[in-house]
């Protein structure tokens, strides 16, 4: 692992995308959240230097804009929540997402694994159901969305519907898998998609079948992904192509490359970050 500074390789497309996002954010008449963004000009050579003049933003600063985020006046939005641990009420805010947003990694997985049925069991309050349903519906895969509170019920549904893909948190996946295993059905699920919080250490579950781990900044905002064919022996991930990543002095910042409803611009996602030579990122946890 290198401890050197790093960023997503800069290309003409990346520069174009970031300019588009910055203009979108600055000129959005519906929200003044980014009204003071400086202009970033510059060629490929000077782009990074210019970009890095934009002050970085932390989650704490975003929380200060809670009110603007909650009452974001754009139409066609739905809300996600800003915390995995929903007992952490103090900092919780609602985070607007475009109503048409899909879950790209799940879409790829559904296309690759063509499951007969896909089940998602994460806390209902995370608000991931509509995105999951929309993504699977496009591929004609029926879904079931269940609260993770009752692993025996989830297991029974997997059996009865012959579901072959499960989206869950690490601990719930393990619980469900153990029940399946006790009944000799450990091979039933061909793909486990684990949703993991970026800011918390996750235990990689020992499951039969393929396992992908996706790290989310907030539930529904994927930042990195380990694809099912890779060995799940470390917590490193490939950065999401939806963001421009910068690692400076072990801190990691992301900038949206798509005009998300609320774009993230030089948003600090972690300290203690390292990047290997293949561009896999590892977030250190206390």
């Amino acid at each position: 692992m290198s401890t050197k500074d790093w960023h997503t390789p800069i290309s003409k497309e990346i520069i174009h995308d970031i300019h588009t996002v910055l203009d979108f954010a600055r000129e959005n008449t519906l929200s003044d959240l980014y009204a003071d963004l400086p202009i970033v000009s510059g060629s490929q050579e000077t782009f990074l230097e210019e970009l890095q003049k934009i002050p970085t933003v932390s989650a704490t600063e975003l929380i200060k804009h809670k009110e603007k985020l909650i009452h974001y006046p754009e139409k066609d939005i739905r809300y996600l929540v800003s915390e995995f641990d929903l007992d952490n009420w103090k900092d919780l805010f609602l985070y607007a997402q475009n109503i048409d947003a899909e879950w790209d990694t799940v879409a790829d997985e559904v296309a690759a694994y063509t499951p007969r049925v896909a089940i998602m069991t994460v806390p209902l309050s995370w608000q991931l159901g509509p995105m999951f349903y929309k993504t699977c519906r496009k591929k004609n895969v029926p879904v079931s969305v269940l609260s993770p509170r009752n692993p025996p019920l989830i297991t029974q549904l997997i059996k009865e519907t012959e579901a072959q893909m499960v989206v869950a948190t690490s601990d719930v996946a393990e619980d469900v898998f153990n029940i399946l295993k006790s009944e000799g059905l450990q091979e039933q699920v061909r793909l486990w998609h684990i949703v993991a919080p970026l800011n918390k250490k996750v235990t990689i579950p020992q499951l039969s079948g393929d396992t992908s781990i996706e790290y989310h900044l907030f539930p529904g905002i994927p930042i990195g992904y380990t694809n099912p064919s890779s060995k799940q022996d470390s917590l490193s991930f490939l950065p999401s192509p939806e963001y421009f990543f910068e690692v400076i002095n072990d801190c990691c910042y992301i900038t949206s490359l798509k005009c998300h409803t609320i774009p993230l611009i030089r948003f600090a996602i972690s300290t203690n970050t390292s990047v290997d030579q293949d561009g896999h990122i590892t977030i250190g946890h206390e």
């Binding site: 929540v81 009420w89 609602l94 309050s125 269940l146 019920l153």
Partner: protein, 430 residues
């Protein structure tokens, strides 16, 4: 059938479809050797009453993928029944392809109330949210009935003008919401279980600006079954009309299976789905109690006004700050078998208005007492102090807090349990 509202052609279409369909053998196997189906299809309306009923157990025996009457690619979601009855879950496939651009019937009322933000406990929120948004401009979030304090916090952040959920969850939620949030609510949709008058009054008191509406549906039905009309809702909150385009309903005596046509006689609700669904239900016994209030209504809807009165077999009572399970009553009673001829019992629940005009739950336990004169008061106190209604509460706590009436012990005369069970819960406040 001496019934002007009998939808012969719609029912014949459904029957024809399921018996001719190349997609599933479910009904062909079920009706094998039944002459009533053929007679009905040949025009004999009276044969309908001879077509066998359908039970949940029969459906459960058939693998889900083998009882689909739509293409597998048209199944959008699968919802399991809860399985709390001990009979295991029933995965229910559902398609929306037939619904097109129509808003669920009940939501047309909410559109008229100009609501824009819905917080719902419904497990199907993810499924309906796009059409709510597209067709009614209603944004929605899903809240978890398993974590009421969190639900209250999310709702306080979100500030919805409409709430939807089962009675118990909405009841618990309302105690956790600040006044300004409650006052903003313009509409409440109640579903999932029978709602007592006490609870209705509480909802109306806590949400003074809300129009409260109940709907009858079930996971198995795959569609709304009965909704209120503008007239019936003013008579009683739980009076509803079966939706004629969606279902045909019958009420039967659960023992004799005879059809009940008179007003005011309770029985089991039986439904037949008329609209295309992933798995059509034909004469499905819902396990819910209902009665006909009247056959005609000035609102113009052609189906009778029904009162939906909860489950036929109640195994759990939910009331303010507590719930009582049949198994808990059984456990506590077994501790006092010295006083009893048998372990049979009936639990009767009602809400009584006390001298201050406040509704309070009252529980009476009917027991087969060896010596009624001697044991009633002893048992009354012992049971009240032993019956657990929450992890850290017994029934006596509620009596002491003056929110419940005292527990009553009554000699068991004769069980009126229609299903022949010896241990049963009755709601006497319907």
């Amino acid at each position: 059938m001496n019934n002007l509202n009998f939808p012969y052609s719609a029912l014949a279409t459904v029957l024809k479809e399921v018996t001719k369909s190349s997609k599933s053998n479910f009904y062909r196997e079920k009706y094998f050797g039944e002459t009533s189906v053929q007679s009905f299809l040949e025009g004999d309306e009276t044969a309908w009453e001879d077509i066998p009923f359908l039970s949940r157990g029969e459906i459960q025996k058939f693998p889900m993928h083998e009882r689909l009457y739509v293409d597998e690619k048209d199944v959008e979601i699968i919802r399991p029944t809860s399985g709390t009855s001990g009979a295991g879950i029933l995965p229910v496939p559902r398609t929306m392809s037939h619904e097109g651009n129509k808003l669920p019937l009940n939501y047309r009322l909410f559109v008229s109330l100009n609501v824009h933000r819905l917080a719902t406990f419904s497990g199907a929120q993810f499924y309906y949210s796009p059409s709510f948004r597209r067709l009614a401009g209603i944004d929605s979030i899903n809240v978890d009935p398993g974590d009421i304090p969190l639900a209250a916090h999310l709702i306080t952040l979100y500030m919805p003008d409409m709430l939807a959920g089962p009675v118990y969850a909405l009841g618990a939620l309302s105690e956790n919401l600040p006044t300004n949030v409650r006052k903003k609510v313009k509409a409440i949709q109640v579903f999932g279980e029978w709602c007592s008058q006490f609870q209705w009054n509480e909802f109306q008191r806590l949400f003074p600006n809300a129009k409260i509406v109940s709907e009858y549906a079930s996971i198995e039905s795959q569609t709304s079954v009965a909704v209120p009309c503008s007239i019936a809702i003013n008579e009683h909150k739980q009076y509803v009309h079966p939706v004629p385009e969606y279902v045909y309903t019958e009420i039967i005596n659960p023992i004799s299976e005879e059809i009940i046509k008179e007003n005011g006689v309770g029985g089991e609700l039986v439904i037949t789905t008329i609209r295309p669904v992933a798995f059509p239900l034909i004469r499905y016994r819902t396990g819910d109690l209902a009665q006909i209030i009247r056959h005609e209504c000035e609102c113009g809807i052609t189906t009778p006004v029904l009162s939906i009165d909860g489950r036929l077999d109640i195994d759990r009572l939910r009331f303010r700050k507590g719930e009582l399970n049949l198994s808990e009553v059984d456990r506590v009673i077994s501790l006092h078998s010295d006083y009893l001829n048998s372990g049979d019992f009936e639990v009767h629940y009602k809400e009584i208005v006390d001298e201050d005009g406040v509704f309070k739950p009252q529980i009476s336990i009917h027991l087969s007492l060896i010596s009624p004169d001697k044991s009633t008061s002893t048992l009354k106190e012992a049971l009240s102090k032993s019956l657990r209604i929450a992890p850290d509460r017994v029934y006596a706590d509620g009596v002491e807090e003056n929110i419940y009436m005292s527990l009553e012990i009554v000699p068991l005369v004769h069980t009126k349990a229609s299903t022949g069970k010896k241990k049963k819960i009755f709601r006497d406040d319907k």
